[in-house]
């Protein structure tokens, strides 16, 4: 059974179009990721699905319930964790959890087993005020609060933004564990490296979905040849690479530049010669496997948007 069904959702804010004809569906127990940069429309989509705002056109259902008409019923069945930390900073960890448990007509005891893995990590600090927790612990508490009423669907809007890498990794492990308990999870993130941890992902840009597929499929279907290039003067290298015939695209990826090439025009050797002529030293060129980020860049530039 499909838990989330979205059909042709449109949403505009005055001039700006936030969501443009979005359609997708999420299976029960799936971990579905929405990947895209800030301002792509992720939060707007989450707010429509959690019944907080109304779509201009289109329909969406959660567990068969319409987000416009049946909003009251939906609100009893979903858990929502907004992008911004939204718990009471002046209440303690335990008071926050207790409060949200009562709001959802349940108790911590009843659903303790569901949140045990997560909550046990912050339980030693249960008398500390929520505002005094670290970023990672705040997210764990927020997740505990969103889970306390055993929701059927969990909406997590950028749960790992502003969280250190170790806590991010832990957080995703928790999500994968939750999925095993049959909870459908819709999660958004601007971090492309987290995409591979989802069952399926949707790449979103400027309010449009570019692709909805399992992350491995997206990587496998990458149509280009990808090389990583490194030299001593990286900024000069970037502009030289962009001027080189046969290089289709070139983006800076941390320590290296990723380029897609037309192998009929340019070979590995001829590129190195070209760069040496330009006066570069310490040149390394390696063919590499694409990551989701490469796919995202390729998809968005092929749309002519970048």
């Amino acid at each position: 059974m499909q838990t989330i069904v979205v059909k042709n959702i449109n949403k505009s804010y005055e001039e700006a179009k936030a969501l443009n004809n979005i359609s997708f569906s999420v299976e029960k127990g799936e971990l579905f990721g929405i990947i895209g940069p800030d301002g792509a429309g992720k939060t707007t989509l989450f707010r429509i699905l959690t019944t907080l705002i109304l779509p201009d056109t289109g329909t969406a259902t959660i567990e068969g319930l319409d987000v416009v008409k049946d909003y009251k019923k939906i609100r009893t069945q979903v858990g929502y964790m907004p992008g911004k930390f939204s718990l009471y900073q002046d209440l303690t960890v335990e008071e926050n959890l207790q409060f949200f448990a009562t709001v959802f007509h349940t108790t911590i005891k009843n659903n303790y087993n569901l949140i045990k893995d997560i909550y046990s990590q912050i339980e030693p600090f249960k008398t500390r005020k929520a505002g005094k927790l670290s970023g990672g612990m705040k997210q764990k508490l927020a997740l505990s609060c969103a889970l306390i009423h055993k929701p059927k669907v969990l909406f997590l809007d950028e749960p790992t933004t502003g969280v250190d890498p170790v806590s991010r990794k832990e957080f995703w492990e928790m999500l994968r564990n939750l999925r095993k308990q049959g909870i459908t999870i819709l999660v958004s993130t601007p971090y492309m490296d987290e995409a591979t941890l989802c069952d399926r992902i949707a790449l979103i840009q400027n309010g449009e979905f570019m692709k909805i597929e399992p992350p491995q499929n997206i990587i496998n279907n990458f149509p280009e040849t990808l090389w990583a290039v490194k030299a001593e003067h990286m900024s000069a290298l970037l502009s030289d690479l962009r001027n080189c015939i046969g290089v289709k695209s070139c983006f800076a990826f941390g320590e290296v530049h990723h380029i897609t090439v037309d192998t009929e025009i340019l070979s590995l050797e001829s590129l190195i010669t070209f760069l040496q002529k330009k006066g570069h030293t310490g040149i390394h060129v390696n063919p590499i496997n694409p990551t989701i980020e490469d796919c995202y860049m390729q998809l968005s530039s092929s749309k002519g948007n970048l």
């Binding site: 707010r47 959690t50 019944t51 907080l52 705002i53 109304l54 909003y71 009251k72 609100r75 009893t76 979903v78 929502y80 907004p82 911004k84 930390f85 939204s86 718990l87 009471y88 900073q89 002046d90 209440l91 008071e95 207790q98 409060f99 949200f100 009562t102 709001v103 959802f104 007509h105 609060c145 969103a146």
Partner: protein, 370 residues
């Protein structure tokens, strides 16, 4: 019900943990009452009168003695030339100067008329008028006693006897206590409630609360209860202070006073609620309640200036302020000692304002974010 209780407990936590705010909320009324009661005073008390007596005869001496004998006036200086008048005002040695003309006694006995001049400092016109009225009253009574001493027939003079009812000494506190009560309750109830609801919008917790089965009416009423309790504490402290420190008696029934105060507190709370539904940020909520409520209450509610002497259009505007009706009814009950049935009009107005505000804000309370 359990849900509602959890909300109320949460709200109490918010308030009690914010030490500074709660201290301000509890101490502010006390400070205001004391300030308005003692420092900001419009009372006629220790008025210094200087005498320029060109005549120096029995009658002027008699009048001067009467002035000196009055407990609110005292003779501060005797001056001898007209030039000195300006000087002693500038040196702030006097509040009033009384000038007797030459041959005062003589003129009075022969022509039946003599003139005195009262000079007051006009920089504070309200106080000046009050001092002058006071001194004039004393002069009139002196004249009367002279008349009764004389056996001359046909000398009739009709004296207006001004008596200030309810506040015989024109004590400022009588006017300020009801005013401060109106101000404090508006501040605590309307301003603080609206800020605390809007804070949830600002921090994003409202987003989570909306995506939960909790009814909006629960969120709202849970917000009101702690501020209601706080206002009750303040009501007690204000009443105790005014009775035992400022000597403003509660002439009427204490229970009707409390009943009307509670009614007003509820009206103010719902006003705060309405503000919270139309504003999105704490700053906006504070500005709206500050500018739209507190300022007009200071000016329009009759706390500073009598409503009757305001332009007609401002009088009409002041009718929509709940505080105006509250202050009127408190004055009637607390100071004039009327029974609650004599203020039924004010009670009805406050009551219908409360119902109206609650209905509007519940209608306006948004189930969604936009």
């Amino acid at each position: 019900m359990k849900q509602f209780l959890a909300f109320v407990i949460k709200e109490f936590h918010h308030i009690l943990r914010d030490r500074r705010t709660i201290l301000i909320l509890l101490i502010m009324p006390i400070i205001q009452i004391i300030l308005f009661g003692f420092a900001v005073t419009t009372e006629v008390k220790n008025v210094r009168v200087s005498i320029l007596d060109h005549s120096k005869d029995d009658i002027t001496q008699n009048i001067i003695q009467q002035i000196n004998a009055n407990e609110y006036l005292s003779i501060s200086e005797n001056i001898y030339t007209t030039d000195e008048i300006d000087e002693i005002f500038r040196k702030n040695k006097t509040d009033l100067v009384l000038v007797f003309s030459d041959h005062f006694d003589n003129d009075l006995r022969h022509s039946g008329q003599a003139s005195v001049q009262i000079i007051a400092d006009g920089t504070d016109p309200n106080m000046a008028t009050m001092y002058v009225t006071y001194l004039t009253n004393i002069l009139l009574s002196a004249q009367q006693s002279l008349n009764s001493g004389e056996t001359l027939s046909g000398k009739f003079s009709i004296q207006p006897v001004v008596k200030l009812l309810y506040n015989p000494r024109m004590k400022g506190a009588y006017n300020f206590v009801p005013g401060v009560m109106g101000l404090i309750f508006t501040l605590i109830c309307a301003m603080m409630t609206s800020i605390s609801i809007v804070r949830e919008k600002e921090t994003g917790t409202m987003e989570i609360l909306l995506v939960s089965p909790v009814k909006p009416i629960f969120i709202i009423f849970a917000k009101m209860i702690p501020y209601f309790a706080l206002s009750c504490i303040n009501l007690t402290s204000i009443l105790l202070l005014s009775v035992y420190v400022l000597d403003v008696p509660i002439t009427g029934n204490v229970f009707s006073l409390i009943f009307i105060s509670l009614l007003f507190i509820i009206v103010s709370l719902s006003l705060g609620l309405l503000i919270s539904t139309v504003t999105q940020t704490q700053v906006a909520a504070m500005l709206v309640s500050g500018m739209v409520l507190i300022m007009p209450i200071m000016v329009l509610s009759g706390m500073m200036f009598p409503i009757e002497s305001m332009p007609h259009i401002l009088q009409t505007i002041s009718c929509i302020l709940p505080a105006r009706w509250y202050i009127i009814s408190i004055k009637k009950i607390m100071i004039e000692g009327l029974s609650i049935f004599m203020v039924w009009k004010e009670v009805c107005i406050l009551f219908s304002m409360g119902i109206f505000l609650i209905i509007i804000s519940l209608k306006k309370f948004n189930n969604r974010l936009e």
